[in-house]
């Protein structure tokens, strides 16, 4: 048991918070923020658990997270472009609730 578990648990909480926000908010920008927070949680947990290789440094999870950060920013940029396009087409960047009746 070391400090890294603290970060692993923080990662789990971040992931769950993001998932909650992803489900309940209808505005797409909030959903994109929520996905980014979820990704941060996953990355944090992955690297925190890789410290169990001490005293050696497990570089593979580190490299995976760097790759993940770059992929996350690409996905965010594409998602934002899609959101703006949806806004142009439908006039709103929010998903319409179906259970209005």
């Amino acid at each position: 048991m070391n400090n890294a578990y603290l970060y692993a648990l923080t990662g789990i909480v971040l992931f769950t918070l993001g998932l909650y926000a992803l489900i309940i908010y209808s505005h797409l920008l909030r959903k994109i923020l929520a996905i980014n927070i979820m990704a941060s949680g996953v990355f944090l947990q992955l690297v925190a658990l890789s410290t169990r290789a001490r005293p050696l440094l497990d570089a593979v999870p580190h490299a995976m997270v760097i790759t993940g950060i770059v992929v996350a920013v690409s996905a965010t940029a594409l998602a934002l472009a899609l959101m703006l396009r949806l806004r142009d087409a439908s006039g709103s960047a929010e998903l319409i609730e179906e259970s209005t009746e």
């Binding site: 603290l6 970060y7 971040l14 923020l33 410290t51 290789a53 593979v60 806004r87 006039g91």
Partner: protein
């Protein structure tokens, strides 16, 4: 000392969770994005605490900096479009609190609101169960797991570099990085084919930003070069250098600078694909002497990695800056009614 470390880590963890919660729950979208940038900066502090300085650099430059800039410019465009169409109602609705919409539902119909609340309680219950299960899984893992660290350490001397993270990124797991470059390029192609917004939303930057960009851009270029060079033996590398380069580009774009039209044709395309092109060429060339795809010979591995990284830095920097710019720059001045999809340009 250990107590102090526990206190620091605990405080950092709680602050991260609190910031994430405020980001997701704040009523104002602009505030949410600013909080998200602060969250990214604290995340990079957490990476330092976890002994991962490479990730800390990438997170500070990309996670906090560029993602924040992308989100802010997207929010500005959302509001610009709303103002142009005079759609003030939906504009205010869009930045209004989710609590507000919940309240409106409560006014409209008590039954709907009850159902909504019931769903929220159920969701919180389910997600708590998920979190508890994940926490149990994490805490029940064996406390020692070397993973692939021994393999990396044993083969580091044939990788051509002495920074294990760079060795994994560009030699041992070069395939991942190759595909990642393709993902970046694909994202840009997606953004370019989707976006048809008018580009003139930016005005003159003002004296401060103008002076700041003059001072900062040369410094950013220097830092990018340093990060690229030092990546072979210390924290740094193509992604960190590329994102610093992109930051310089974003700053220039914000200050109103636009590349001359003659650079926007094939020179821009060349800069965008050179990273992937060099990577693929090297990977394929390795097959010629009877090797395998991406199998770098130890004698030349260092030089080849530097070559790939230099090309990748340029491509990553230009791609990320182009993602920030949003729409495909036109190499020639075409009148708006000739752009094919120029319906909204009027």
């Amino acid at each position: 000392m250990t107590l102090l470390q526990w206190a620091f880590d605990g405080l950092l963890g709680i602050t991260l969770i609190w910031l994430a919660w405020r980001t997701l729950a704040s009523a104002d979208l602009f505030k949410a994005i600013v909080l998200f940038i602060a969250f990214g900066l604290l995340m990079s502090l957490a990476w330092v605490r976890l002994n991962a300085p490479d990730i800390a650099l990438a997170e500070a430059a990309i996670g906090a900096g560029l993602t924040g800039a992308l989100l802010l410019v997207a929010l500005a465009r959302l509001n610009v479009v709303a103002a142009q169409t005079g759609d003030i109602e939906s504009n205010t609705k869009q930045i209004s609190a989710p609590e507000d919409s919940a309240r409106t539902t409560a006014v409209v119909g008590q039954g709907v609101s009850n159902k909504h609340n019931l769903f929220q309680y159920f969701l919180v219950l389910m997600l708590s169960a998920v979190a508890a299960g994940l926490a149990y899984a994490v805490l029940s893992l064996p406390s020692e797991a070397p993973g692939l660290s021994r393999d990396v350490a044993e083969n580091l001397n044939v990788s051509g570099v002495s920074n294990p993270v760079t060795a994994v990124l560009l030699n041992f797991r070069g395939y991942d990085t190759l595909l990642e470059m393709a993902v970046l390029l694909l994202a840009l192609l997606g953004v370019w084919s989707l976006n048809r917004l008018p580009e003139q939303y930016e005005s003159s930057p003002g004296l401060v930003l103008d002076m700041l960009s003059r001072l900062l851009v040369p410094l950013l270029l220097l830092v990018a070069g340093y990060l690229l060079w030092v990546g072979s033996r210390a924290p740094g590398g193509a992604f960190q250098a590329g994102s610093v380069l992109a930051a310089a580009g974003v700053l220039l774009l914000l200050a109103g600078w636009r590349p001359a039209a003659r650079f926007l044709g094939w020179p821009l395309r060349f800069a965008l694909i050179i990273g992937l092109a060099v990577f693929v060429s090297v990977a394929l060339l390795m097959m010629l002497p009877g090797g395998q795809l991406l199998q770098l010979p130890p004698a030349f591995a260092g030089a080849l990695i530097l070559l790939i990284e230099t090309a990748a830095t340029l491509s990553i920097g230009v791609t990320l800056a182009a993602l920030f710019y949003g729409s495909r720059p036109r190499s020639e001045q075409i009148p708006p009614h000739h752009t094919g999809s120029g319906g909204e340009n009027e």
